[in-house]
């Protein structure tokens, strides 16, 4: 089974089976506080997973986590890092691999799987990047491995410029207010099944750290 985490928007933890069956899919209502809630969410997700697939009453298989899938962003840095640090530490503790996933891919996958018979037109997953910017990624359909096809890579754009940009790309705007960890897990499962790496090894900060170069000593005498 795959333990999946994402802290690029809120804090979300899921457990999915390799074939995509969701065992647990939890999220914190607290949009911040990633570090506070991550431990209890992990325990709750693992506990729920042991009860069997969501919505069934069949006798469950024991939960053996073989991989940890992690949303690498884009997302506000402080929170994003909590999930990545947790995913890597959990994987280290169990001696299992980490599978990085682009967080927007998970939201896109959720849209594309919602109605398998619908023909979903090109769309953009949009998340808040703070500082009057959005992060967006444009998608169109699923590839042969069942993974969402990125038309553009994750990028930042001033909020006021987003709609014009999406119009130019012919993409509908889909604002993501939460990233479902279950879809992080499903994307990871599909990537692993296809023998592909679909996410980056490093966090998708998309922005350099804020630093001000020292401008030489300030005068203190008038």
């Amino acid at each position: 089974m795959i333990l999946a985490l994402d802290t690029s928007v809120g804090t979300a933890v899921a457990v999915v089976e390799e074939d995509g069956v969701v065992r647990a899919d939890l999220a914190s209502a607290n949009a911040l506080g990633h570090a506070e809630v991550i431990g209890d969410l992990l325990v709750a997700a693992l506990g729920e997973a042991s009860l069997g697939p969501v919505g069934t009453t069949s006798a469950p298989e024991p939960v053996v986590i073989a991989r940890v899938a992690i949303g690498m962003g884009p997302g506000p840095f402080t929170g994003l890092r909590v999930g990545i640090a947790a995913a890597r530490a959990f994987a280290l503790g169990r001696g299992i691999p980490v599978v990085p996933v682009v967080s927007h891919d998970a939201f896109a996958l959720g849209i594309l799987l919602a109605d398998p018979f619908a023909d979903v037109p090109r769309f953009a997953v949009v998340t808040d990047a703070r500082r009057r910017e959005f992060a967006y990624t444009v998608y169109e359909g699923l590839d042969d491995d069942g993974l969402p096809v990125r038309v553009t890579q994750p990028a930042l754009i001033p909020r006021d410029d987003l709609d014009a940009r999406l119009a130019a790309l012919g993409a509908e705007r889909r604002d993501a207010l939460a990233i479902p960890a279950s879809m992080i897990g499903v994307a990871a499962a599909r990537a692993v099944a296809a023998g592909r790496e679909v996410g980056p090894h490093d966090a998708l900060y998309l922005r350099s750290p804020d630093v001000t170069m020292p401008a030489g000593p300030k005068r203190v005498t008038p």
Binding site: T7, G33, H34, A35, E36, V37, I38, G39, D40, L42, V43, L46, F77, T78, R81, V82, G83, I84, A85, A86, A87, R88, A89, F90, A91, L92, G93, R94, D202, A203, Y205, P209, D210, V211, T212, M213, P214, P217, K218, R219, V220, T221
Partner: protein, 359 residues
């Protein structure tokens, strides 16, 4: 868990050092530190976001290196420990997230502890030193903090007597170094420049040391006025067309810092009738501070303890050591519900201890 000599891994990410320590009881097995100091050098000080990013990258390799050095595996651990605060919030959160997930993954108890009290616990790991006696006054000086503590018991009773009202002493060294055109980090640079200087050449102010300060700030520190005084003195020299005697300025500045630190620490020893002073924090690496503290303490009948310097700078071993003491004294683990607390008071030695079963 073996309460006699628990095997504990400690994670420390409160500032710019990613520290992973492993102890068994009071025995140090690994003190692995990855520092992002070089990345901060060109900015002249620790940049929180740069530090937090570096922690994320350094954690996993540092844990692996510490395990290898200690010759243990994660499955052997009796507990995981982590710094909950005080420190840089974003940096702390990386360690907290990792520690919680590691503890859940291993099904191991987790101890969330106080960074400042960890600095005191570092002393326990010194195999040469006799047992820590109580009460003791502790002076902790680094780039992130300058605190004077009264330690009645490491695991149950630590009181903050005073702390800096503005810059930490280490920050003051960095800022004055920059003012003198010396690179970061300032401590070793000022030290080097001061070697040939006269510490009494210029009389710089001792912050919060006037009689009128004694009521409210007897044990508090302030270094921003000192930094401004140095800047003003340098500017006046420049305005007069004189060369700046860097060695004398560095020596006199350092003397002002050392004097106020040692004076207040020994004053606390006298006022509380405590003949013991423990030094900790990265600035203790400053030779002049150690020498003056030892000399003046001896004159005052106060015994000085200084942990090995590798345990004075921020590190994970001190966090593991504190948790080990908590475990051996019968404390329960922390819940998983705590967060990073950038202003965690020193009275909170352990954070979020679980309720006793059935309580």
């Amino acid at each position: 868990m073996s309460a006699r000599e628990p095997l504990v891994l400690g994670i420390e990410t409160s500032c710019d050092e990613t520290g992973i320590g492993i102890v068994r009881g009071r025995t140090l097995l690994s003190n692995t530190i990855a520092s992002s100091m070089d990345e901060h050098a060109r900015y002249g000080g620790v940049v929180p976001e740069v530090a937090a990013r570096a922690h994320l990258e350094a954690l996993q390799p540092s844990i692996a290196a510490a395990l290898a050095e200690a010759g243990v595996t994660l499955a052997d651990l009796d507990a995981v420990a982590v710094t909950s605060g005080p420190g840089l919030a974003g940096a702390l959160m990386v360690g907290v997230g990792a520690a919680k997930a590691l503890a859940v993954s291993l099904d191991a108890p987790l101890y969330a502890v106080n960074h400042l009290v960890g600095h005191i616990a570092a002393d326990i790991l010194d195999p040469e030193a006799p047992a820590l006696e109580y009460p003791t006054v502790a002076l902790l000086v680094s780039g992130g903090h300058t605190s004077l503590l009264l330690v009645r018991d490491l695991t149950t009773d630590v009181e903050m007597l005073g702390e800096t009202m503005d810059d930490a002493a280490g920050e003051a060294f960095d800022k004055v170094a920059r003012l003198l055109g010396l690179p970061y980090p300032g401590g070793p640079q000022i030290d080097r420049a001061a070697a040939t200087g006269d510490p009494h050449a210029i009389r710089f102010p001792r912050g919060l040391s006037r009689a009128s300060d004694m009521a409210a700030h007897r044990y508090d520190f302030s270094f921003s006025g000192l930094k401004t005084a140095v800047a003003r003195w340098v500017e006046q020299q420049q305005a007069a067309g004189a060369d700046i005697p860097i060695a004398d300025v560095a020596a006199s500045f350092r003397e002002a810092v050392v004097d106020v630190l040692v004076t207040k620490a020994l004053d606390a020893c006298a006022q509380y009738g405590v003949p013991r002073l423990l030094l900790g924090g990265g600035v203790i690496a400053n030779r002049r501070l150690r020498d003056v503290a030892i000399e003046r303490a001896a004159a005052a009948g106060v015994e000085v303890r200084i942990p090995p310097l590798s345990l004075c700078t921020d590190n994970g071993a001190m966090i593991a050591a504190l948790a080990s003491e908590l475990i051996m004294s019968g404390r329960r683990p922390s819940t998983l519900g705590f967060g990073a607390d950038s202003t965690l008071p020193v009275t909170e030695i352990q954070v979020a201890e679980r309720e006793a079963a059935g309580a």
